[in-house]
Amino acid sequence: MTAGADAQPVSAGSDRLPDMEFAEFFRAEHKKLIRFVTAMGADSDQAAEIAQETFFKALQGWDSIHSPRAWIRRVAANEFTAARQAARRETPQEALPDAQVPVSTALAVELGEEGRRVMAALDTLPPKQREVMAWIIDGFGAVEIAREIGVSPESVRQNHAKARKNLSRF
């Protein structure tokens, strides 16, 4: 299997379980990645598409990815950020392949009140604070988040503190 352009090891501390196969990893993380991208601000259909594309890249480079939990989130976050910037420029982005996952309508029916409230609260956050919260939700610490999104740990902590403050005001 050939490593894709994004398929570089991202951290010294591997979160990969011994002998974990891609399919097993996919089953454990697929929905969590959709939730992660949704927490960043994507609608659920877009999040499902980005997750699918990210896992396709992960499969292509699976043998060289040492920390897949962090890797898929970094790639998905970059994908979402690029899509958001493209939308701001009003440049139609090429549709992601195999976009066959109609999630929004079904999710709207299934989602409970607490989930709706948290999503509404996250909607009020600026993008950077929201991104940090998305990583925090998935259990990552400040140092690891900083490494993945390319800022200092202090910047992560500051954005985290601001996010908490803003969420408490909502």
Partner: protein, 196 residues
């Protein structure tokens, strides 16, 4: 959730309370996605783009295992809670909050067992937390059922009480099944659920 956030700050509670509440809300999103997303179909599409088939038997196609059977039973409890809670009083209603908490623990338990990554101590912790939430719901609902409330609300509380009583009974059966899965082990090392 938001009121709890405000309370957390007004009473000087730890900032971590905010993270915990946000995580709980996002667990709801994960539970909802679990009912909406077909992992196997997406996985098959991903492999198909490389001209390959998913290696090994896809989940849902292999022979049912003890873990799968337990997961199916846990899923039924989750569905029962979701159905009754949706038809019942507002989500802020105390008994409903406890039932939703129990549902969230059950979801975490099922997710861990399905992914074959759950440790025995974690499974037993979630079972105990679920039991605690159900007992709490039962206590609150019993108290509220004795109050003079409009008849529709009274009937809804009755339904919730019946549910929490039924669930407590079913939970004990599930707990026994989970203990059998782990061979009554209290080993704290990661344990893959046996597939037999």
């Amino acid at each position: 959730m938001i009121r709890r956030l405000r309370d957390a700050f007004s009473t000087g509670a730890s900032d971590e309370t905010v993270d915990i509440d946000v995580r709980h809300g996002m667990d709801d999103v994960l539970a909802a996605l679990d009912n909406v997303i077909d992992d196997e179909a997406v996985l098959a599409r991903i492999y198909a783009r490389l001209g390959e088939d998913v290696p090994g038997p896809a989940r849902g196609q292999h022979t049912s295992t003890a873990a799968d059977e337990i997961c199916a039973r846990i899923g039924m409890l989750e569905s029962a809670i979701t159905t009754v809670v949706k038809a019942g009083p507002p989500a802020s209603f105390l008994g409903t909050v406890s039932l939703n908490t129990a549902r969230r623990y059950l979801f975490e338990l099922r997710n861990g067992l399905q992914n074959r990554t759950m440790t025995a101590p974690e499974a037993f912790r979630l079972l105990n937390s679920t039991r605690h939430a159900l007992n709490e719901a039962d206590t609150v609902l019993r108290r509220q059922h004795d109050m003079p409330l409009p008849e529709p609300v009274h009937a809804q509380i009755g339904d919730l009480r019946q549910l929490s009583t039924d669930l407590l009974g079913q939970l004990e059966d599930i707990a026994e099944g989970v203990m059998r899965l782990f061979g009554h082990s209290d080993d704290s090392a990661p344990i893959l659920v046996p597939q037999h």
